[in-house]
Protein backbone atom coordinates (compact mmCIF):
# COMPACT_ATOMS: atom_id res chain seq x y z
CA UNK A 1 0.00 0.00 0.00
CA UNK A 2 1.43 3.37 -0.97
CA UNK A 3 1.91 5.75 1.92
CA UNK A 4 0.06 9.04 1.67
CA UNK A 5 -0.04 12.02 4.00
CA UNK A 6 -3.67 11.22 4.88
CA UNK A 7 -2.52 8.18 6.83
CA UNK A 8 -0.60 10.37 9.30
CA UNK A 9 -3.65 12.61 9.63
CA UNK A 10 -5.98 9.65 10.25
CA UNK A 11 -3.69 8.34 13.00
CA UNK A 12 -3.35 11.76 14.64
CA UNK A 13 -7.09 12.50 14.68
CA UNK A 14 -7.92 9.01 15.92
CA UNK A 15 -5.34 9.44 18.68
CA UNK A 16 -6.69 12.87 19.64
CA UNK A 17 -10.25 11.56 19.89
CA UNK A 18 -9.29 8.51 21.95
CA UNK A 19 -7.12 10.61 24.23
CA UNK A 20 -9.65 13.17 25.39
CA UNK A 21 -12.58 10.76 25.07
CA UNK A 22 -11.24 8.20 27.52
CA UNK A 23 -9.61 10.86 29.68
CA UNK A 24 -12.86 12.76 30.10
CA UNK A 25 -14.82 9.73 31.33
CA UNK A 26 -12.85 9.14 34.50
CA UNK A 27 -12.06 12.79 35.14
CA UNK A 28 -15.81 13.30 35.25
CA UNK A 29 -16.31 10.34 37.58
CA UNK A 30 -13.52 11.55 39.89
CA UNK A 31 -14.89 15.09 40.17
CA UNK A 32 -18.37 13.67 40.61
CA UNK A 33 -17.27 11.56 43.58
CA UNK A 34 -15.84 14.67 45.25
CA UNK A 35 -19.00 16.70 44.58
CA UNK A 36 -21.20 13.91 45.93
CA UNK A 37 -19.19 13.47 49.11
CA UNK A 38 -19.03 17.26 49.48
CA UNK A 39 -22.81 17.57 49.29
CA UNK A 40 -23.26 14.79 51.82
CA UNK A 41 -20.68 16.42 54.12
CA UNK A 42 -22.56 19.74 54.04
CA UNK A 43 -25.78 17.97 55.00
CA UNK A 44 -23.98 16.41 57.95
CA UNK A 45 -22.18 19.56 59.12
CA UNK A 46 -23.94 22.67 57.73
CA UNK A 47 -21.85 24.98 59.95
CA UNK A 48 -18.64 24.10 58.09
CA UNK A 49 -20.23 24.62 54.71
CA UNK A 50 -17.76 27.24 53.45
CA UNK A 51 -14.74 25.14 54.34
CA UNK A 52 -16.23 22.00 52.76
CA UNK A 53 -17.21 23.89 49.62
CA UNK A 54 -13.69 25.28 49.28
CA UNK A 55 -12.13 21.84 49.78
CA UNK A 56 -14.53 20.39 47.23
CA UNK A 57 -13.58 22.96 44.58
CA UNK A 58 -9.82 22.64 45.19
CA UNK A 59 -10.08 18.86 45.18
CA UNK A 60 -12.03 18.89 41.92
CA UNK A 61 -9.47 21.19 40.32
CA UNK A 62 -6.69 18.78 41.32
CA UNK A 63 -8.69 15.79 40.07
CA UNK A 64 -9.09 17.50 36.69
CA UNK A 65 -5.31 17.66 36.15
CA UNK A 66 -5.10 14.37 34.27
CA UNK A 67 -8.05 15.39 32.08
CA UNK A 68 -6.28 18.64 31.26
CA UNK A 69 -3.14 16.71 30.31
CA UNK A 70 -5.30 14.64 27.93
CA UNK A 71 -6.79 17.84 26.46
CA UNK A 72 -3.32 19.32 25.90
CA UNK A 73 -2.11 16.17 24.11
CA UNK A 74 -5.28 16.17 21.95
CA UNK A 75 -4.77 19.81 20.98
CA UNK A 76 -1.13 19.12 20.12
CA UNK A 77 -2.18 16.12 18.02
CA UNK A 78 -4.69 18.25 16.14
CA UNK A 79 -2.76 21.51 15.72
CA UNK A 80 0.84 20.96 16.87
CA UNK A 81 2.10 18.19 14.63
CA UNK A 82 4.20 18.42 11.48
CA UNK A 83 2.66 16.61 8.54
CA UNK A 84 5.24 15.54 6.00
CA UNK A 85 5.32 12.54 3.76
CA UNK A 86 8.88 11.75 5.00
CA UNK A 87 7.49 10.96 8.44
CA UNK A 88 5.98 7.79 7.10
CA UNK A 89 4.51 5.03 9.23
CA UNK A 90 6.82 5.94 12.15
CA UNK A 91 5.02 9.26 12.68
CA UNK A 92 1.57 7.75 12.13
CA UNK A 93 2.17 5.05 14.76
CA UNK A 94 3.73 7.54 17.18
CA UNK A 95 0.75 9.91 16.98
CA UNK A 96 -1.77 7.14 17.61
CA UNK A 97 0.35 5.78 20.47
CA UNK A 98 0.66 9.25 22.07
CA UNK A 99 -3.13 9.52 22.17
CA UNK A 100 -3.55 6.02 23.63
CA UNK A 101 -0.85 6.62 26.27
CA UNK A 102 -2.34 9.82 27.67
CA UNK A 103 -5.97 8.70 27.26
CA UNK A 104 -5.64 5.47 29.24
CA UNK A 105 -2.98 7.06 31.44
CA UNK A 106 -5.43 9.57 32.88
CA UNK A 107 -7.96 6.91 33.99
CA UNK A 108 -6.30 5.72 37.21
CA UNK A 109 -4.97 9.05 38.53
CA UNK A 110 -8.37 10.76 38.06
CA UNK A 111 -10.24 8.04 39.94
CA UNK A 112 -7.59 8.05 42.67
CA UNK A 113 -7.64 11.82 43.11
CA UNK A 114 -11.45 11.70 43.16
CA UNK A 115 -11.55 9.14 45.97
CA UNK A 116 -8.96 11.10 47.95
CA UNK A 117 -10.86 14.38 47.60
CA UNK A 118 -14.17 12.75 48.51
CA UNK A 119 -12.75 11.28 51.72
CA UNK A 120 -11.27 14.69 52.59
CA UNK A 121 -14.71 16.36 52.35
CA UNK A 122 -16.22 13.62 54.52
CA UNK A 123 -13.48 13.98 57.06
CA UNK A 124 -13.75 17.78 57.30
CA UNK A 125 -17.44 17.38 58.10
CA UNK A 126 -16.46 15.13 61.00
CA UNK A 127 -13.66 17.39 62.31
CA UNK A 128 -14.02 20.95 60.94
CA UNK A 129 -11.41 22.20 63.43
CA UNK A 130 -8.63 20.31 61.64
CA UNK A 131 -9.85 21.31 58.17
CA UNK A 132 -6.58 22.90 57.05
CA UNK A 133 -4.45 19.88 57.95
CA UNK A 134 -6.89 17.60 56.14
CA UNK A 135 -6.91 19.78 53.04
CA UNK A 136 -3.09 19.87 52.99
CA UNK A 137 -2.99 16.10 53.22
CA UNK A 138 -5.60 15.83 50.45
CA UNK A 139 -3.47 17.94 48.11
CA UNK A 140 -0.32 15.91 48.86
CA UNK A 141 -2.22 12.67 48.24
CA UNK A 142 -3.68 13.92 44.97
CA UNK A 143 -0.25 15.08 43.82
CA UNK A 144 1.13 11.60 44.59
CA UNK A 145 -1.59 9.90 42.58
CA UNK A 146 -1.09 12.31 39.66
CA UNK A 147 2.60 11.36 39.35
CA UNK A 148 1.65 8.38 37.19
CA UNK A 149 -0.37 10.70 34.91
CA UNK A 150 2.82 12.73 34.53
CA UNK A 151 4.69 9.58 33.44
CA UNK A 152 2.05 9.10 30.74
CA UNK A 153 2.41 12.76 29.73
CA UNK A 154 6.18 12.41 29.39
CA UNK A 155 5.83 9.32 27.18
CA UNK A 156 3.20 11.13 25.06
CA UNK A 157 5.50 14.10 24.53
CA UNK A 158 8.38 11.80 23.56
CA UNK A 159 6.12 9.99 21.08
CA UNK A 160 4.91 13.31 19.65
CA UNK A 161 8.24 15.06 19.23
CA UNK A 162 11.22 12.72 19.43
CA UNK A 163 10.38 10.02 16.87
CA UNK A 164 12.60 10.33 13.77
CA UNK A 165 11.26 10.21 10.22
CA UNK A 166 11.04 6.81 8.59
CA UNK A 167 14.36 5.98 6.82
CA UNK A 168 13.95 5.70 3.06
CA UNK A 169 15.57 2.33 2.53
CA UNK A 170 14.06 0.47 5.51
CA UNK A 171 13.01 -3.15 4.95
CA UNK A 172 9.36 -4.13 5.48
CA UNK A 173 10.24 -6.38 8.42
CA UNK A 174 12.07 -3.63 10.34
CA UNK A 175 9.30 -1.15 9.55
CA UNK A 176 6.66 -3.42 11.13
CA UNK A 177 8.85 -4.01 14.21
CA UNK A 178 9.41 -0.31 14.86
CA UNK A 179 5.81 0.82 14.32
CA UNK A 180 4.38 -1.92 16.53
CA UNK A 181 7.00 -1.14 19.21
CA UNK A 182 5.75 2.47 19.34
CA UNK A 183 2.13 1.30 19.72
CA UNK A 184 3.27 -1.13 22.44
CA UNK A 185 4.99 1.70 24.32
CA UNK A 186 1.76 3.72 24.32
CA UNK A 187 -0.34 0.78 25.54
CA UNK A 188 2.25 -0.13 28.19
CA UNK A 189 2.36 3.23 29.96
CA UNK A 190 -1.38 3.77 29.37
CA UNK A 191 -2.48 0.64 31.21
CA UNK A 192 0.51 0.64 33.56
CA UNK A 193 -0.53 3.87 35.27
CA UNK A 194 -4.08 2.66 35.90
CA UNK A 195 -3.33 0.48 38.92
CA UNK A 196 -0.83 2.74 40.73
CA UNK A 197 -3.07 5.79 40.19
CA UNK A 198 -6.07 4.09 41.77
CA UNK A 199 -3.98 2.45 44.50
CA UNK A 200 -2.32 5.66 45.64
CA UNK A 201 -5.68 7.39 45.53
CA UNK A 202 -7.04 4.75 47.91
CA UNK A 203 -4.08 5.25 50.29
CA UNK A 204 -4.53 9.02 50.25
CA UNK A 205 -8.28 8.69 50.74
CA UNK A 206 -7.88 6.42 53.77
CA UNK A 207 -5.24 8.77 55.18
CA UNK A 208 -7.63 11.72 54.83
CA UNK A 209 -10.44 9.73 56.42
CA UNK A 210 -8.27 8.77 59.40
CA UNK A 211 -6.95 12.33 59.85
CA UNK A 212 -10.55 13.33 60.51
CA UNK A 213 -11.04 10.57 63.09
CA UNK A 214 -7.66 10.67 64.86
CA UNK A 215 -6.07 14.09 64.21
CA UNK A 216 -3.39 13.47 66.86
CA UNK A 217 -1.83 10.69 64.78
CA UNK A 218 -1.10 13.04 61.87
CA UNK A 219 2.64 12.34 61.59
CA UNK A 220 2.23 8.55 61.82
CA UNK A 221 -0.55 8.56 59.19
CA UNK A 222 1.41 10.75 56.79
CA UNK A 223 4.55 8.62 57.15
CA UNK A 224 2.60 5.46 56.32
CA UNK A 225 0.90 7.21 53.39
CA UNK A 226 4.24 8.26 51.86
CA UNK A 227 5.82 4.85 52.37
CA UNK A 228 2.81 2.98 51.00
CA UNK A 229 2.39 5.17 47.94
CA UNK A 230 6.09 4.99 47.11
CA UNK A 231 5.86 1.20 47.02
CA UNK A 232 2.65 1.27 44.94
CA UNK A 233 4.31 3.62 42.47
CA UNK A 234 6.98 1.03 41.63
CA UNK A 235 4.89 -0.78 39.00
CA UNK A 236 4.26 2.51 37.18
CA UNK A 237 8.03 3.00 37.07
CA UNK A 238 8.49 -0.50 35.58
CA UNK A 239 5.98 0.44 32.86
CA UNK A 240 7.85 3.67 32.20
CA UNK A 241 11.10 1.74 31.82
CA UNK A 242 9.53 -0.75 29.38
CA UNK A 243 8.01 2.14 27.38
CA UNK A 244 11.38 3.87 27.12
CA UNK A 245 13.00 0.62 26.00
CA UNK A 246 10.30 0.12 23.34
CA UNK A 247 10.71 3.71 22.09
CA UNK A 248 14.49 4.09 22.14
CA UNK A 249 16.20 0.71 22.32
CA UNK A 250 14.87 -0.74 19.08
Amino acid sequence: MAFTIEQIQIAAYLGAGLCVGIGAVTTGIGSGIIAGEGARAIVKQPKANEQIFRTMLIGQAAAQTAGIFALVISMLLIYGRSDSIEGGWFKAAAYLAAGIAMGFGSVGPSLGAGYSGGQACKSIARMPKHGNAIMGNMLIGQALSQTSAIFALVVSFLLLYSIPNQPVDISLGKLIVKTVALLGAGLCIGFGTLGPGMGIGFVAGKANDMMGRFPDEKSNIMRTMFLGSAVSESTAIYSLVISFLLIFAL
Binding site: L175, V180, A181, G186, G192, S234, L250
Partner: protein, 83 residues
Protein backbone atom coordinates in the same frame (compact mmCIF):
# COMPACT_ATOMS: atom_id res chain seq x y z
CA UNK B 1 21.00 -7.92 9.95
CA UNK B 2 17.92 -7.47 7.82
CA UNK B 3 14.63 -9.04 8.81
CA UNK B 4 12.37 -10.93 6.45
CA UNK B 5 8.67 -10.09 6.61
CA UNK B 6 7.83 -13.18 8.69
CA UNK B 7 10.63 -12.47 11.19
CA UNK B 8 9.51 -8.87 11.37
CA UNK B 9 5.95 -9.89 12.24
CA UNK B 10 7.21 -12.28 14.94
CA UNK B 11 9.42 -9.62 16.51
CA UNK B 12 6.67 -7.00 16.25
CA UNK B 13 4.17 -9.27 18.01
CA UNK B 14 6.71 -9.96 20.74
CA UNK B 15 7.15 -6.22 21.32
CA UNK B 16 3.41 -5.55 21.36
CA UNK B 17 3.11 -8.45 23.79
CA UNK B 18 5.80 -6.91 25.98
CA UNK B 19 3.94 -3.61 26.13
CA UNK B 20 0.60 -5.24 26.95
CA UNK B 21 2.26 -7.58 29.47
CA UNK B 22 3.83 -4.79 31.53
CA UNK B 23 0.83 -2.50 31.11
CA UNK B 24 -1.76 -4.99 32.32
CA UNK B 25 0.69 -6.53 34.78
CA UNK B 26 1.11 -3.22 36.57
CA UNK B 27 -2.63 -2.89 37.17
CA UNK B 28 -3.09 -5.56 39.83
CA UNK B 29 -0.05 -4.84 42.00
CA UNK B 30 -0.74 -1.09 41.87
CA UNK B 31 -4.31 -1.43 43.13
CA UNK B 32 -3.40 -4.20 45.59
CA UNK B 33 -0.48 -2.39 47.18
CA UNK B 34 -2.51 0.77 47.43
CA UNK B 35 -5.23 -1.16 49.27
CA UNK B 36 -2.66 -2.60 51.70
CA UNK B 37 -1.20 0.83 52.40
CA UNK B 38 -4.65 2.39 52.83
CA UNK B 39 -5.66 -0.22 55.38
CA UNK B 40 -2.30 0.20 57.13
CA UNK B 41 -2.99 3.95 57.49
CA UNK B 42 -6.32 3.06 59.02
CA UNK B 43 -4.74 0.53 61.38
CA UNK B 44 -1.99 2.88 62.54
CA UNK B 45 -4.49 5.64 63.20
CA UNK B 46 -6.65 3.30 65.27
CA UNK B 47 -3.86 1.72 67.28
CA UNK B 48 -0.71 3.87 67.08
CA UNK B 49 1.07 1.77 69.71
CA UNK B 50 1.37 -1.04 67.13
CA UNK B 51 2.78 1.27 64.44
CA UNK B 52 6.01 -0.64 63.85
CA UNK B 53 4.23 -4.00 63.67
CA UNK B 54 1.68 -2.64 61.18
CA UNK B 55 4.36 -0.99 59.04
CA UNK B 56 6.28 -4.29 58.93
CA UNK B 57 3.17 -6.22 57.90
CA UNK B 58 2.37 -3.59 55.27
CA UNK B 59 5.82 -3.80 53.71
CA UNK B 60 5.86 -7.62 53.69
CA UNK B 61 2.37 -7.69 52.14
CA UNK B 62 3.34 -5.15 49.51
CA UNK B 63 6.50 -7.05 48.67
CA UNK B 64 4.43 -10.19 48.08
CA UNK B 65 1.88 -8.34 45.90
CA UNK B 66 4.74 -6.74 44.02
CA UNK B 67 5.92 -10.18 42.86
CA UNK B 68 3.42 -10.39 39.97
CA UNK B 69 4.53 -6.93 38.81
CA UNK B 70 8.11 -8.19 38.77
CA UNK B 71 7.06 -11.32 36.84
CA UNK B 72 5.52 -9.03 34.19
CA UNK B 73 8.70 -6.96 34.07
CA UNK B 74 10.82 -10.09 33.58
CA UNK B 75 8.55 -11.43 30.83
CA UNK B 76 8.47 -8.04 29.10
CA UNK B 77 12.27 -7.82 29.15
CA UNK B 78 12.53 -11.39 27.83
CA UNK B 79 10.10 -10.57 25.02
CA UNK B 80 12.07 -7.45 24.08
CA UNK B 81 15.60 -8.80 24.23
CA UNK B 82 15.53 -12.55 23.61
CA UNK B 83 13.17 -13.00 20.68
Amino acid sequence: MDLTLAQGIVKASALLGAGLCMGMGALGPGVGEGFVAGKACEGIARSPENASLITRTMLVGQAVSESTGIYSLVIALLLIFST
